[in-house]
């Protein structure tokens, strides 16, 4: 390509070190201007430019070793030296950017150094690369080296990491407070309410152990404001962290208008922000069902449930996954009669059935009904309540509820950001495909978190955010985690990581298991609970841990040990020989490994392995 400057014939030399680079991106150079200085055995050589133009990118740095033909510079404009961009190509590539002042600079990725040929052929069809550096170009009001779209756990992590790596970062968030779903209407407020639920449940449970409390007086407004206080404290803290790092936070709804520009709309005002690299952390939202009157205030999603707008007498939870069951736990504790309807043959379909069973048994007694293999086919909003038509399972034909929580899953927000304008592929479900570096089909744009796929979990997004930020800063960072743990903060908690038994069976992977029932754990019994199970799965050949499922109080905290063990490649012996403190629930992980080994003494088990 004529806009590349390569090392000319420098005589009989190879791998000559560059000792000085005399130009930088943005410089205008003429033919024969010295661009770099090389140092051979005895002489230094000035290397002149073969073409004139504006430097888009310098591909070498002092210390690099170069040989004839190596790429030194990339210039802007295919017609090097003429200075004429090709506006018709630019317009073609970025049709949506009228508000960008028709700047031809917007087209082209300028990332000649990496990416698939398809990408180069697609977005690079116009040969004018985007300007580098953080100085705004015409039509742009701001410019970032790294722009992060979405301030959830993944987004703010990516923004902060990129800033810590010296990048000028702009963080765009559509809601007024940072933290995304997790902090505002997800993980954190739900945990606050679950704590309240736990205190209510446990105080009642103590009656059978000789301590009786009066029925709780629940001031729902005060409970809500406490929950909001927790959220504010965290999101406010995030704002502080952003300020300390000089990350610019822009509020508004964003959409891509070109491969290097985004348009942010806030209260009718539109702003164009240019970027070198972008990280899409646009998250997900609850799925809505066509046959459900979502406009009715009595139909809520997780966000509505956390708003705590009263406690319904009878609550129907559609979807027996983590979110539905957690909200059911809260509303049950607050006094609702809960019915759950789940399409599959078990609640929490991702986890093994034996791990879910203790939870199922407990809530089957507590709740009004749990209908498995059943679905809702219609919901009619009547003045006296929501009339629901069921199909399948043990569900009645119809029933009427005061509120319905729809928690059938979350849908990625990939289709809401006009990603196509940036050359970013979005699949038909709204997910954005990425590689191990979190790069999308536009190599300078990354995507992380819920928008790139399951599992839609904050801790996955956080790690992906770091990878994306590091990769954007030029580091060789990859998402190489072997496992991502999942936790349902129900009572008992259900947690699992790595391979499940169901999955192993489906994939034909041979695993051995060690199971420790908490009925043999002194600590569990002294908590007044005996239904927990710790199950650890091991590779039959190497004895290395490949998966773990735990049900019981604090299972979510216990699962971290299994995750670490999997990442470290620990085997059953390693886990069993690690001294776990007594009496703790963490002992159950060590005991399960011993059960697999056949060295356990706290249970009597038929011999599995000779030791």
């Amino acid at each position: 390509m004529s806009n590349e400057v390569r090392l000319p014939d420098i005589g009989d030399f190879k791998n000559v070190p560059v000792i000085e680079v005399l130009v930088k991106a943005g410089d205008t150079i003429a033919v024969d201007d010295t661009i770099i200085v090389l140092e051979s055995d005895k002489a230094t050589m000035d290397v002149p430019s073969s073409v004139a133009g504006k430097v888009a990118e310098v591909k070498v740095q002092p210390g690099d070793k170069v040989t004839q033909g190596d790429l030194i510079l990339v210039l802007e404009g295919a017609a090097a030296g003429t200075g004429q961009a090709k506006p018709e190509v630019a317009e073609k590539a970025a049709p949506a950017q009228t508000s960008a002042g028709g700047s031809p600079l917007a087209a082209g990725t300028g990332q000649a150094g990496y990416g698939s040929p398809a990408t180069a052929g697609g977005t690079g069809a116009s040969a004018a690369p985007a300007p580098k550096g953080a100085a705004p170009v015409s039509g742009e009001e701001m410019r970032a080296e790294v722009l992060v779209l979405g301030a959830g756990p993944g987004g703010y992590t990516a923004a902060f990491r990129a800033a810590d790596l010296g990048k000028k970062v702009i963080l765009v968030e559509r809601w007024p407070s940072l933290g995304g779903v997790c902090l505002n209407v997800g993980c954190i407020p739900s945990k606050a309410l679950l704590h309240a639920a736990k205190v209510i449940d446990e105080s009642q449970a103590m009656a059978s152990h000789g301590i009786s409390f009066a029925a709780p007086q629940i001031d729902i407004d005060q409970l809500r404001s406490w929950k909001e206080g927790v959220v504010k404290r965290l999101t406010g803290g995030l704002g502080g962290l952003a300020k300390q790092r000089k990350v610019t936070v822009v509020t508004g709804t964003a959409r891509f208008v070109s491969p290097h520009q985004i348009e942010v709309e806030h209260e009718g005002k539109k702003t164009i922000i240019g970027f070198d690299n972008a990280v899409i952390a646009a998250g997900s939202e609850p799925i809505k069902m066509p046959f459900i009157p979502h406009d009715d205030p009595r139909v809520i999603d997780s966000t509505g449930a956390l708003e705590l707008d009263g406690v319904p007498k009878r609550l129907l939870v559609i979807g027996g996954g983590i979110i539905g069951l957690e909200m059911a736990t809260v509303y049950h504790a607050l006094g609702s009669k809960v019915t759950i309807v789940e399409l599959m043959d078990q609640i929490i379909p991702g986890a093994d059935k034996d791990i879910v069973t203790p939870l199922f048994k407990r809530i089957s007694k507590q709740y009004e009904a749990i209908h498995l293999k059943a679905k809702v086919t219609a919901v009619e909003a009547l003045p006296e309540g929501l009339k629901v038509t069921f199909e399948g399972g043990s569900a009645p034909a119809t029933d009427t509820f005061d509120k319905i929580l729809v928690s059938v899953g979350r849908r990625p927000n990939g289709k809401l950001i006009n990603a196509e304008a940036a050359g970013v592929a979005v699949d038909e479900r709204g997910f954005i495909p990425v590689d191990k570096q979190m790069r999308t089909t536009a190599p300078h744009i990354f995507a992380i978190g819920d928008v790139v796929g399951q599992p839609m979990l904050a801790h996955k997004a956080v790690h992906e955010g770091k990878v994306a930020a590091e990769a954007a800063a030029g580091k060789n960072s990859f998402f190489d985690a072997k496992v991502i743990p999942s936790v349902a903060y129900t009572d008992p908690e259900v947690a699992w990581v790595g391979l499940s038994e169901t999955e192993a069976k489906a994939k034909g992977i041979k695993v051995g298991k060690g199971v420790f029932p908490w009925a043999a754990s002194g600590r569990s019994l002294s908590l007044g609970r005996d239904e927990g199970i710790t199950k650890v799965l091991f590779d039959e050949e190497s004895n290395r841990i490949v998966g773990c499922g735990i049900v019981g109080p604090s299972a979510g905290d216990l699962i971290a040990e299994a995750a670490l063990a999997i990442e470290m490649g620990a085997d059953a012996e390693d886990i069993g020989l690690t001294i776990h403190p007594h009496p703790t629930l963490s002992e159950t992980v060590g005991m399960a490994a011993e059960a697999f080994e056949g060295t356990i003494t706290d249970l009597y088990m038929p011999k599995k392995k000779a030791h």
Binding site: K92, S116, P117, G122, R439, F478, D480
Partner: protein
């Protein structure tokens, strides 16, 4: 059925490196066609194919060490090989790359100007999900661009450690180090001679080194770098000895062998080695003791069309001039025909390099380590020698003894060489 071709009986050798693979997968070969070259201490051996056929798979690579019975390749019998190859698997799902090369179809004609977007990002990064390496090691590997799926861990239970990852960089920076027989290029901190494109200055032609040179090169380089070498020169009056040699040679000619000065040199060397056992020794690997050899095997450097080889006359102390001459005759013939077995070239305790047939007035022979000394001789010449009262024409033979100065001092070398010259002057001293 494919046949697994194994290394045949190759004598008393184990773990011999493969230096060349002479065939490639898909080649059609005949029975006895060479398939790989092995390199023992001093000889190379070509392993022939036991039967004809098409090579299905090669199971070894250059540098692998093999012993008798090691599998080398899979050979498909000729008849079977002629059967049509399996049809290329049809209907295979397009690879990620192919998919990425096909721009996504734009279904909406209202927006024809959106840039075409591939369906998925193209990624060639190796998958580390099954490697036995901790997260920190995986991260280090990514930073350094090391593919963990190709590394064997040295940690506990095969775990890949940070050191393993860093080790691959050291190895790849010095790929020569593992091949064993290669020259110690730069490995001792010696700067490489920079490559020069000679064709810039005139026409050139690249001719590969003969096999023997390729093998002996590193060996000689090793000797040169390891042995602090000194050469001591002397000369011997062989007028009478040569007259005697001619008598024996005339007698031998009829019986089908020749007697050259080399036979006398061998006998004289044995005599000198007996007198000075340090010359018939090697340094132990710790370099704190001498291994004195109680046998006298004399290597003889022979110039062949393919290069220098050194056959060995074994137990020279127990052989007479005639027997040695006959043995030299047969060894030289084998050497020139390229038929020397590795046994013919092993076990020397001292070496003689004779250039007398060609000419010269002196040279510095290179000690054939781990031997500690070598005798170099050039052409003898008639010279006027002062016998105390007059100049007499005498046939003088220049002798050059190079020695390992770690083992032998100059005075000892002078005595050894003098003894050699003294014995050669009057062969009756050989029997004393």
């Amino acid at each position: 059925m494919s046949i697994e071709v194994k290394i045949p009986d190759i004598g008393d050798f184990k773990d011999i490196p493969i230096i060349e693979i002479l065939v490639k997968e898909g080649d059609t070969i005949g029975a006895e066609d060479p398939i790989v070259s092995l390199e023992s201490d001093k000889a190379t051996m070509e392993v022939p194919s036991p039967s004809a056929g098409v090579i299905e798979k090669i199971l070894v690579k250059v540098g692998d060490k093999v012993s008798e019975g090691s599998p080398v390749l899979l050979l498909k019998g000729e008849a079977e090989a002629k059967a049509p190859a399996a049809a290329p698997s049809a209907g295979a799902a397009p690879s990620a790359d192919t998919a990425a090369l096909m721009p996504k179809q734009e279904p909406d004609p209202a927006a024809p100007s959106a840039p075409p977007v591939p369906a998925a990002p193209a990624s060639s990064a190796p998958d580390f999900s099954n490697v036995h390496a901790s997260p920190a090691v995986r991260r280090l590997a990514r930073e350094l661009g090391v593919d963990l799926t190709t590394i064997k861990g040295t940690g506990e239970k095969g775990r890949i450690t940070k050191e393993d990852v860093k080790g691959t960089l050291v190895r790849s920076a010095a790929p020569a180090a593992s091949a064993g027989a290669v020259a110690p290029a730069g490995g001792m901190g010696i700067p490489e001679i920079p490559a020069v494109d000679f064709s810039k200055f005139g026409p050139t032609e690249v001719k590969p080194l003969a096999r023997i040179k390729k093998i002996s090169g590193p060996h000689l380089h090793r000797a040169w770098l390891n042995v602090p070498l000194v050469t001591h020169s002397d000369e011997s009056d062989i007028t009478d000895t040569d007259a005697y040699r001619k008598e024996l040679d005339t007698a031998g000619k009829d019986k089908g062998y020749r007697v050259t000065l080399l036979s006398f040199l061998i006998k004289a060397a044995v005599s000198a080695l007996r007198q000075h056992p340090e010359f018939n020794s090697s340094l132990n690997p710790e370099k704190d003791a001498l291994i004195l050899k109680k046998y006298y095997n004399i290597g003889v450097a022979v110039d062949t069309p393919d290069g220098l080889v050194v056959p060995v006359v074994k137990d020279a102390d127990r052989k007479g001039i005639v027997e040695i001459s006959q043995e030299l005759g047969s060894l030289s013939k084998k050497a020139r025909d390229g038929k020397l077995g590795s046994g013919d070239m092993q076990g020397a305790t001292f070496t003689i390099s004779s250039l007398g047939g060609i000419g010269g007035t002196g040279f510095t022979p290179l000690v054939n380590a781990p031997e500690v000394a070598i005798l170099g001789v050039v052409r003898s010449k008639m010279a006027p020698v002062w016998n105390g009262s007059e100049f007499k024409p005498r046939l003088m033979l220049p002798l050059s003894v190079s020695y390992d100065h770690r083992v032998i001092d100059g005075a000892l070398a002078a005595r050894f060489t003098r003894h050699l010259a003294h014995v050669l002057e009057d062969v009756r001293r050989l029997v004393v």
